[in-house]
Amino acid sequence: MEWEAVIGLEIHAQLATRSKIFSAASTAYGAPPNTQACAVDLGLPGVLPVLNAEAVRMAVKFGLATHSNIARRSVFARKNYFYPDLPKGYQISQYELPIVYDGWLDIELDEGETKRIGITRAHLEEDAGKSLHDAFEDMTGIDLNRAGTPLLEIVSEPDLRSAREAVAYMKKLHALVRYLEICDGNMQEGSFRCDANVSVRRRGEHRFGTRTEIKNVNSFRFVERAINYEIERQIDILESGGAVVQETRLYDSARDETRSMRTKEEANDYRYFPEPDLLPLVLDDAWIEEVGQTLPELPDAKKARFVDDYGLSPYDAGVLTATRELADYYEAVVAACGGTAKLAANWVMGELSGALNKAGLEIGASPVTAEALGGLLRRIEDNTISGKIAKQVFEAMWAGEGDADQIIDQRGLRQITDPAAIEAMIREVMEANPKQVEQYRAGQEKLFGFFVGQVMKASRGKANPAQVNAALKQLLAGD
């Protein structure tokens, strides 16, 4: 029997505002515990929330970038539950009337097809603090620095059919929020987290199976593994005649499995009701349009332009537009080298990406700037060095030895293009290898490669290979 997975994701993107969503406290990450929590964040008696306009602007940007509707009137609601890191005993969120609803995002599948994934809604809410269970013996520490940090919770339709689709969607969203500069996307710090709703059904069935929700998975790899584990687990249950229990599960990355956290019966009744301390959020068309004008070029548009303007393959264009930083870097390289966009693409995706991966660096931290790389490529273009030598130069640039021209000069790597010099080298090689010359002239033409190698060796790789080829052919022919 064939099974089909049905997956929907809820993604929490931490909005990159400087202050919190309802208070003036800083949102900076990594401060000592409880140094960035003001009276409002602590939920002291008598305090009131005031909505951060920048968080609203960011949510609207997201809505516009995902072809969503922007609610002209949205309402904040209280989600009530007790937990020590939730200072007020309720979280201010949006419930019945979210700020963003009914949008979509196209994802690319492996076969080069695209698939449209519906976005049900995206709503604004505040984050809770953190409970530190390991910091004190027999006690739990509470750090409220994160309490009140603005989140955009992005809920997809159950349109995803495999873990790979889910990851593709998540990566696309991740790139998008970073393009929009509304979220730093830092998954280690929890700026971009995912809950996955997973169910399975027999192929052809239209009704959904019972779903489980996997909470708080914070890497692409873990999302893929957690979903795959969960799909297998549910299929096993169903195939052995059991029933899936609706519940919340946690993914344990060390054991690569999901575990039950609480069942539906144990679930909190959140007792949502409209937040009486905040007025409904009313947005007018003019303001939304003004926000729309601040949208940057989005990934799909940029990719299409890279194909059209630079003549790149859709695959290369996709790789180079995966992040705004990489795309910007690439375009700066093209501008600096003044040469072919394809050569620049090969270098950025090849040598540069390889070196960055090896060093575990992001593009923004590359020791070789786009301008410097462009300078190197210019020297390939104008035949100052060969592509092979360029790799040596790049390594030296990476090591901080200077720009391409400095390194080429210091190391004497300039390509030899003087015909007389090349002829002299060839003659020397021929004189040193009379036997091979004789054999070549007797018809053993495959020895040609041997001569090229010897000449290049004699020039220490610097001789222009095309010139060497042409001259060798002539001289060996014995004119």
């Binding site: 002291l44 008696p45 008598g46 005031v50 009530n80 007792r271 301390d277 905040l278």
Partner: protein, 484 residues
């Protein structure tokens, strides 16, 4: 000095008849001598008051300051006061020293008013008799066996007994107007959004509103003028200028249309109370007003509506008192659940717990539509009733409470009867309108008040009508025996 109005005290300070320090000492002395009979203060801030008075005297000597500079006042213990215990009448906050000032506190401080102390109140403002306070009941100065009303009972009793010329109050369902009526003083709850709620400990956020209590409308105008105004820290605060209340006081009442809602004079109203209201209308007619009979058909739904909305909001607002960060924490909790249950079980009193349970129930899955949502719909009907009424009248008049002050303990075990004592006042909170109670007579030696209800942001007119009425009557000048 305690029989002078705040306006007269301000004049006396400027003329040099007395200093603010003398005035402050006089009131502190009265509190020291008389308050053991009333229990109207939870905390008396004598040293701080004298320091503030000295500062006020310096400002006055330099020709600076405004009409409240150097005038003492009593502050309801629901407003946060930086460095001073702010208990909200609860064991839960018995040790809570507020680390910041409420906007109202800040404004009164800036105006140079001198805070004498923090007044007693029903726990978290939940009550109509001041019997739910952790600090014990407040007694009514007109008869110390009777309640002063609630929840601003400490403020009302303190003003009535001449322990403070002015007091702040808050009103969620009648908590300024009802104790003002029961203690024979004047109190105004302004339009929702007129006074900032920042730093005013929340009971029911969509209903809570701070206001002024004093012997006269003129003094209420003086105090409210300093309290009111837009505050960016309260998103529900109204961004519109505040009228000049004092300037409007003397306006004539010719042609004023006074609406008398049929529903306010039906069953349950003490006939003697009806007589008091009738007499007050007669006085206003004599001043040129005309009576218009009106109907508020959904008024009878206001009590059940209120007892869904207010507990629902309170159940959420009071969740923060969990023993984790501040406030009461039980001894030696064994685990988190135990910490929550015992801290809240021991820290809150019976009435607060009752309302948290009602509210939690009303918001629960499966009940939300039948209770909370329905209540919000009825609330709209009540708003609509008043909107229609104000098409044909300038203000609505009726009793403030069905009876004068009842005996301590009389209703404390019968919450429904207790809740019904708010029947005339809570519709005003549900609609967000301004309301006022004005002393208008006595029943068996106990004060009775009439309630004036205005249209949105029409505080100036309420104060104006009350002031003209008080120029024609002297009910507000009577003082209880033993507190002369």
């Amino acid at each position: 000095m305690h029989d002078l109005s705040a306006a007269e005290l301000a004049a006396g300070l400027r003329k040099g008849d007395f200093t603010s320090q003398e005035l402050t000492r006089h009131f502190l002395d009265r509190i020291g001598r008389l308050d053991e009979r009333l229990n109207s203060f939870i905390t008396v801030t004598a040293d701080q008051a004298l320091a503030e008075a000295a500062a006020a005297d310096r400002r006055l000597a330099a020709g600076e300051g405004g009409p409240l500079t150097g005038i003492p006042y009593a502050h309801k213990d629901i407003f946060c006061t930086d460095g001073v215990r702010t208990s909200c009448g609860s064991r839960m906050l018995d040790d809570f020293i507020a680390p910041y000032d409420a906007t109202v506190t800040e404004r009164l401080r800036a105006a140079g008013a001198v805070m004498l102390g923090k007044t007693n109140m029903d726990e978290f403002a939940m009550g109509s008799s001041n019997e739910t306070s952790y600090y014990g009941p407040v007694r009514n100065p007109w008869d110390t066996d009777r309640v002063p009303g609630g929840s601003s009972g400490g403020s009302a009793a303190a003003v009535a007994a001449g322990l403070a010329p002015l007091a702040t109050g808050t009103d969620t369902g009648g908590s300024i107007r009802q104790p003002a009526a029961l203690c024979g003083i004047t109190g105004i709850k302004p339009t929702y959004g007129r006074v900032s709620r920042w730093g005013m400990i929340a009971f029911a956020s969509s209903l809570d509103q701070g206001g002024a209590m004093a012997r006269s409308a003129e003094d209420c105008a003086l105090l409210l003028q300093a309290m009111a105004g837009f505050d960016p820290r309260d998103s529900t605060s109204a961004e519109r200028p505040v009228d000049d209340y004092l300037a409007a006081l003397a306006r004539p009442l010719e042609g004023l249309r006074v609406g008398l809602p049929r529903e306010y004079f039906g069953e349950g109203l003490d006939p003697r109370m009806a007589g008091v209201v009738e007499a007050a209308v007669g006085v206003l007619e004599g001043l040129g007003a005309q009576r218009v009979e009106i109907s508020l058909p959904n008024m009878e739904l206001s009590v059940p509506t209120y007892y869904i909305v207010a507990p629902a909001e309170c159940s959420s607002n009071l969740s923060r008192y969990d023993g984790v960060r501040f406030g009461y924490r039980c001894q030696d909790p064994v685990d988190l659940e135990d910490l929550y249950k015992r801290s809240r079980g021991e820290g809150f009193g019976a009435e607060v717990k009752r309302r948290i349970m009602i509210g939690t129930y009303a918001l629960s899955a499966g009940y939300y539509d039948a209770y909370y949502l329905k209540a919000q719909q009825v609330r709209q009907l009540i708003v609509e009733d008043f909107r229609r009424a104000f098409e044909s009248v300038d203000l609505v008049l009726g009793p403030t409470s069905p009876t004068p002050a009842f005996r301590l303990g009389e209703k404390v075990d019968d919450p429904v009867t207790m809740y019904l004592s708010d029947i005339y006042t809570i519709g005003v909170n549900l609609a967000g309108l301004p309301g006022m109670s004005v002393p208008a007579g006595f029943i068996d030696g106990l004060p009775a008040g009439v309630q004036l209800i205005g249209n949105y942001f029409d505080e100036a007119r309420l104060l104006n009508v009350a002031h003209r009425y008080q120029q024609a009557t002297d009910w507000h000048r009577r003082t209880p025996e033993g507190f002369a």
